[in-house]
């Protein structure tokens, strides 16, 4: 089973609790960049998570707006977040996509004995 955490309007102390244990994280405050960076900085491996943005405000000056976040994630080479700004999003039903990404090449062995 996949672990998801959803935030909307909440305090950082609440959304940082056990943050590393989730696979899919909804970024708080409708994708405000400052709030998202707090999440990224707290994670041990922020690139290993999937993100959801519930953006229904465009780039409103006072609340929400994920345009800056989208640009930031692109610059920092994150995989794009699932973002409601582009329409309805469908959450992946399983961890298969994530598992495919976390598989890879172990750099052990190859005649390692001294």
């Amino acid at each position: 089973m996949r672990r998801l955490v959803f935030y909307v309007e909440t305090h950082p102390q609440a959304y940082l609790h056990n943050i590393n244990s989730y696979d899919l994280i909804q970024l708080p405050h409708h994708g405000k960049l400052d709030s998202a960076i707090v999440i990224f900085d707290k994670l041990t491996d922020s690139y290993s998570k999937d993100y959801l943005v519930s953006d229904n405000t465009g780039s409103g000056a006072t609340s929400g707006g994920s345009d800056n976040l989208v640009e930031y994630m692109k610059t920092e080479h994150y995989s794009p977040a699932l973002n409601t700004k582009n329409g309805v999003v469908y959450l992946p039903k399983s961890k298969n996509n994530l598992n495919n990404r976390t598989q890879g090449v172990k750099l052990g062995a190859m005649d390692y004995k001294l």
Binding site: E76, R101, G104, V105, L107
Partner: protein, 183 residues
């Protein structure tokens, strides 16, 4: 500094992948980077490796390869006489990281050695290993390790400051954790 990568086709995948690696090196060093060149096989180095240079003024080597290959490379005079080596690889079996450091210190007592952040993995016959894995995470254009991702995230702090955050420095002092302990 020089950047060396294994010729293992699971690491050195294709031209697009390696071009993305050059872009990554440019981003984390903030300097110009040459293209990839081959280090040909020799009696001292029986495998082919690829290398590039970043014009950052640092006298060190960043190696992405299997730990056995890193061991071979670190026995070379040209690498051991630098200021540091950053080993983007597995420790695999402790205290292999210290053994590599000791071997280089016979040539250069002042050298610093950094290893990637490790995780425990279960291998054949249920043996636990200290592992670093290259995974398809993020949009870097090449398979990357956790330490490479952390290095990139901290690149604006300066290269060596970012290295201190992203990699673990190997101490020449033998600690209890070097005898079966968990990092």
């Amino acid at each position: 500094m020089q950047w060396i990568i294994s010729s293992d086709p699971r690491v050195f995948i294709d031209a697009s992948n390696m071009s993305a690696r050059l872009q990554y090196i440019h981003s984390v060093t903030g300097s110009e980077v040459t293209g990839w060149n081959a280090i040909r096989k020799s009696s001292i180095l029986p495998k082919t490796f690829f290398y590039c240079m970043s014009n950052d003024g640092l006298n060190g080597t960043f190696i992405t390869a299997h730990v056995g290959e890193v061991r071979q490379l670190c026995s070379l005079q040209e690498i051991a006489t630098g200021d540091f080596v950053i080993a983007n690889t597995c420790i695999w079996e402790k205290p292999l990281n210290k053994q590599i450091l000791y071997r280089m210190m016979k040539i250069n007592r002042k050298i610093d050695l950094w290893f990637s952040k490790q995780s425990l993995s279960v291998e054949e016959n249920y043996i636990l290993r200290q592992s670093a894995m290259l995974s398809k995470l993020g949009e870097f254009g090449f398979d990357n390790s956790l330490s490479e991702r952390i290095l990139f995230s901290n690149r604006r702090k300066g290269f060596m400051k970012a290295v201190k955050i992203a990699f673990n420095k190997v101490s020449s002092v033998i600690l209890p954790e070097d005898y079966g302990g968990i990092i």
